[in-house]
């Protein structure tokens, strides 16, 4: 092998604390290295050209680039060596930036360490073999999980792009959190007026199949060929027959159930259509409150239903959907305000969340769009908004900013003034976070035109006195304690990961952070991709986002899916396990431990042998470390390669 080593300065990022020329010079002593040089920016066009030129001039058969992390530019350099005529796997990287130059200032130690890392890379490269990817066909259907605004946008864009889309929604209607909002910032236009048409488009689009009231049960397969089991929960209403007329809701005798769509500040019937614009507009029976289920007799809805759609004996149903890509758009949930006991959320009826307040403002809400406080139905005059309840609070293990609360609170103070002209809003805030087009101007309007009084400081305690709520807090700008007698207290509850998000992430085999938000592939450059091929993210499942950001991500994820499906065949990653059939004794230990069922038992001249199913193998290498005789080897990470790396480091 003729190996060339290229040591990148990365401007001063590496050169600042690593003597790259010395590293290059030292590399020349390693076996089979015939050429070594340092280079300013290996990843730049001239940098890549230099590598290609050297491959041609020096007849190199393998290349080591010492630069940044392979998680960043390995694909870049693999393409470069391929352009020069080498197999793309005849290439290794030494990470001397993230793992060396950026974590220490000692130039001598860094240079020495860099030489070691190049040595490891050279030893691994010497045992690299050309790998040829095989091709497999793609099922050009996409599943979108979650029918909030991000999922709706992703579904519509994919469907408009000609793809078959399967949209899975946990609730009985799509719309997500946005459907619950009255108005949106900073334009104060009506939420359902702008979301409604999109929801209708979903219902009417010939390319979209909607599974509402459904959840993802399990996911098998891999990019291009996923098999997803979707559990369609029993609605006890045959949706083929239900026309959404609502006769059942009028007659249902069980009327006092907390209405989840109205954030439990209003009642609903046991058989229910959550809101007038619901898509699909179909009824669902809640068996935990329905008298037919609880007491065993009632049957009113079955009697009044004009189409005979009521089916009390319905059961959950599993349907299998074969898709080639998945977009996760499962959104967020709200922090449980009852955990902040000093504010009394959950104990005092007039302490509510911002989303509950949104339902009070909404014409389709429980009060018909008149602001009435929950305790006694009176119109509140003094309303206190408390920011960052379950956000930016280490003591509650919620150190992150929920992002959109500052803006919706400003909107709510404006709407409050519109609804009740003689009202006064107070906002206790920590900082006002309003980066976005027309956002800061909007908060100024709330203060200057609508007279909301912003008080910079935290609230210590909320307690009832008579029919008022006393809000005691600090005004840190005035340096005083303040007490406000409020009629209603609205808490800007922080956003947290949707319930069940970690479990879904495990099914999708994607990472999630300690709060349950899904991890993107790269925080800046791959914001809607995940580390699992064929799985994309959109909206707040990745972290709190407002509507325009969520919509943007929905479209971005759709673009990624369309790009993936622009090819009829995908290349499989050839870094998979291969069986040396001579060495295999057919014990099947690899078959037992493979998480993907990617190894099967075959007969070879009357003997049992293991065989890897190429398209199913994901390249984890568990089999390789399980096989005692080393008969199954993960290409590009073979025992010999790792042993060579170990030996490179340990031979004194």
């Amino acid at each position: 092998m003729r190996i060339g080593v290229f040591v990148c300065h990365c401007g001063s990022n590496i050169e600042g604390t690593v003597d790259t020329a010395t590293v290059a010079k030292a590399s020349l002593d390693f076996p089979e290295v015939v050429y070594a040089t340092d280079t300013m920016y290996a990843c730049s066009e001239p940098g890549q050209d230099g590598i290609i030129q050297a491959i041609k001039d020096k007849n190199l058969t393998g290349v080591v680039v010492a630069s940044c992390t392979p998680r960043m530019h390995e694909p870049t350099f693999r393409r470069a060596v391929e352009r020069a005529g080498l197999n793309r796997f005849m290439f290794e990287m030494a990470n001397i930036r993230e793992h060396v130059s950026w974590i220490g200032r000692d130039r001598e130690a860094n240079t020495n360490k860099s030489v070691d890392l190049v040595r490891i890379a050279v030893e691994k490269l010497r045992r690299d073999a050309p790998l040829i990817p095989s091709k497999f066909s793609v099922n050009k259907r996409v599943m979108v999980i979650g029918g909030g605004v991000a999922g709706i946008q992703a579904a519509l864009d994919c469907a408009d792009g000609g793809l078959e889309v399967v949209l899975v929604e946990r609730e009985s209607s799509i719309g997500g959190k946005m459907a619950k909002l009255d108005k949106t910032f900073p334009t104060v236009d009506c939420s359902s007026c702008i979301l409604g048409p999109k929801m209708v488009d979903v219902a009417q689009h010939p390319n979209i199949t909607l599974h509402a009231y459904s959840e993802v049960d399990s996911i098998g397969g891999y990019v291009g060929n996923f098999q997803v089991q979707v559990k369609k929960r029993a609605t006890y209403v045959d949706w083929e027959l239900c026309t959404g007329c609502g006769a059942c809701m009028e007659k249902c005798p069980s009327k006092k159930n907390p209405d989840a769509f109205n954030e439990k500040i209003g009642p609903c019937t046991s058989i229910n259509i959550p809101f007038p614009q619901a898509i699909p507009k179909k009824a669902v029976i809640d068996p935990t409150t329905c008298r037919q289920f609880v007491k065993g007799k009632c049957g009113v809805c079955a009697k009044v239903c004009p189409t005979g759609a009521i089916k009390y004996d319905m059961t959950d149903e599993i349907v299998t959907e074969d898709v080639g890509a998945i977009v996760a758009a499962t959104g967020y949930d709200l922090f449980d305000i009852s955990k902040v006991t000093e504010y009394g959320g959950g104990r005092y009826p007039d302490v509510i969340t911002g989303l509950q307040y949104e339902r009070l403002l909404s014409a389709s809400g429980p009060t018909g769009g008149h602001i009435k406080r929950p305790s006694d139905g009176k119109e509140p005059k003094n309303i206190v908004f408390i920011q960052c309840v379950g956000s930016r609070d280490k003591s509650l293990d919620r150190p992150y900013c929920s992002g959109f609360c500052c803006m919706y609170t400003a909107k709510q103070t404006i709407l409050t003034k519109d609804h009740i002209p003689d009202s006064q809003s107070y906002v206790f805030y920590m900082d006002i976070r309003s980066p976005g087009k027309m956002y800061d101007e909007f908060t100024r309007r709330a203060m200057e035109e609508y007279g909301a009084r912003y008080i910079r400081g935290r609230v210590a305690m909320v307690y009832p006195k008579g029919d008022k709520m006393i809000v005691r807090g600090a005004d840190t700008l005035a340096g005083t304690q303040v007490e406000i007698e409020a009629d209603l207290v609205v808490l800007a509850a922080g956003a947290e990961a949707a319930k069940g998000a970690p479990q879904l992430a495990e099914k999708l085999r994607i990472s999630y952070d300690k709060y349950g938000f899904f991890m993107e592939s790269h925080p800046k450059l791959k914001p809607v991709e995940t580390n699992t091929a064929g799985v994309y993210l959109a909206g707040s499942c990745q972290g709190p986002k407002d509507i325009p950001q969520s919509v943007g991500q929905g479209s971005a994820a759709a673009a990624k899916v369309l790009a993936l499906f622009s090819k009829d065949m995908l290349e499989s990653d050839p870094q998979i396990s291969r069986v040396d059939i001579k060495r295999c004794v057919g014990c099947g230990k690899c078959i037992m431990t493979c998480p993907f069922k990617a190894i099967k038992e075959v007969e070879f001249r009357g003997q049992k042998k293991a065989e890897v199913i190429e398209t199913v193998c994901q390249g984890c290498g568990i089999c390789t470390s399980t096989c005692p005789q080393g008969a199954i080897q993960l290409s590009h990470f073979t025992d010999n390669q790792i042993l060579a790396e170990v030996n490179a480091l340990c031979q004194s």
């Binding site: 902040v340 006991t341 000093e342 009394g344 104990r347 305690m461 307690y463 009832p464 006195k465």
Partner: protein, 293 residues
């Protein structure tokens, strides 16, 4: 049931809050919780020690904890939240070896560690339990509206006290409800009464305690049950000062929660010690119980 726990009455338990001490002993005896006196116990250091010197304060507390250890017991109960704070703080600080070394230097008998300090309220909740409490009731406190006031340090700081919710504690509410009382939701149950400002700034105490009494009247309480000798003194003994300062006319009885328990358990009057309180709860109590009958 015969669980045993060391008992640390604290200095006030021998003086100003004698009735808290006697009612606590009687109630625990009636409920089968054996309180074992700590021989030769000494002052926990109270507020003066820890405002002056953390090592000294910890040493005073640790001496008592070591005495408990010598008794072969693993836990001590105290009725006084202030003593409790000192005992628990000493334990916490002594987890750091260098600090403990300084403490041990002041002690004849170094603290071996491992003695937990709990409030009587916690001991009753966890060692006796609500079911036992409920089944022991002889005279249910039916019809009596009680506001439970915990004071500001009973559950704070929460990491140190590690019992009940620090903003909305319920232990006393649960016990008195088990005794048959109608426990009214009292929003200021952990607000400050003014504490030891009674001497240097009686105006502060008058204002803060006044607010508490006002809130108790506001929620319709017949009386305010307390668990702290100092709170009791501010709300009861200084009720006259409060009224004078605020132009109010409160006549709010402020018994210890153990005294109300003792009533429900039919314990003798001299052990209940209502006569030691300034606002006598007995008229309100008998009226409420009579109405309920």
């Amino acid at each position: 049931m015969s669980e045993a726990i060391a008992y640390y009455p604290g200095c006030s338990g021998l003086g100003t809050s004698k009735e808290y001490d006697t009612s606590t002993r009687a109630v625990c005896a009636a409920l089968g919780l054996s309180l074992v006196d700590i021989p030769d116990w000494s002052c926990c250091g109270s507020s003066p020690a820890h405002t002056k010197d953390h090592v000294l304060s910890a040493a005073l507390a640790a001496r008592n904890l070591q005495l408990v250890s010598d008794m072969g017991l693993k836990a001590a109960a105290t009725p006084c939240p202030s003593c409790l704070t000192n005992l628990r703080t000493a334990n916490h600080r002594c987890e750091a070896a260098p600090f403990k070394a300084k403490v041990d230097k002041l002690l004849d008998d170094p603290y071996a560690g491992g003695v937990n300090a709990v409030s009587v309220l916690q001991a009753l909740t966890e060692m006796v339990g609500l079911d036992t409490v409920k089944s022991a009731v002889r005279t249910p406190l039916k019809g009596l509206k009680v506001a439970c006031y915990y004071g500001c340090i009973m559950n704070r700081p929460p990491e140190l006290m590690a019992f009940d919710d620090c903003e909305n504690p319920m232990a006393m509410d649960n016990i008195l409800a088990a005794m048959g009382a109608e426990v009214v939701p009292f929003p200021l149950k952990v607000e400050c009464c003014g504490a030891s400002y009674g001497i240097p700034r009686p105006d502060v105490v008058a204002k803060l305690s006044g607010k508490l009494l006002d809130a108790a009247v506001g929620v319709g309480a017949d009386m305010v049950a307390v668990a702290c000798p100092l709170c009791q003194m501010n709300l009861d003994l200084r009720q006259g000062q409060v009224n004078r300062a605020g132009g109010t006319n409160f006549r709010m009885p402020v018994p210890y929660f153990t005294q109300l328990m003792a009533v429900a358990l039919n314990i003798a009057d001299e052990e209940i010690g209502f006569s030691k309180l300034c606002v006598d709860p007995r008229p309100v109590l008998s009226k409420a119980l009579a109405v309920a009958d």
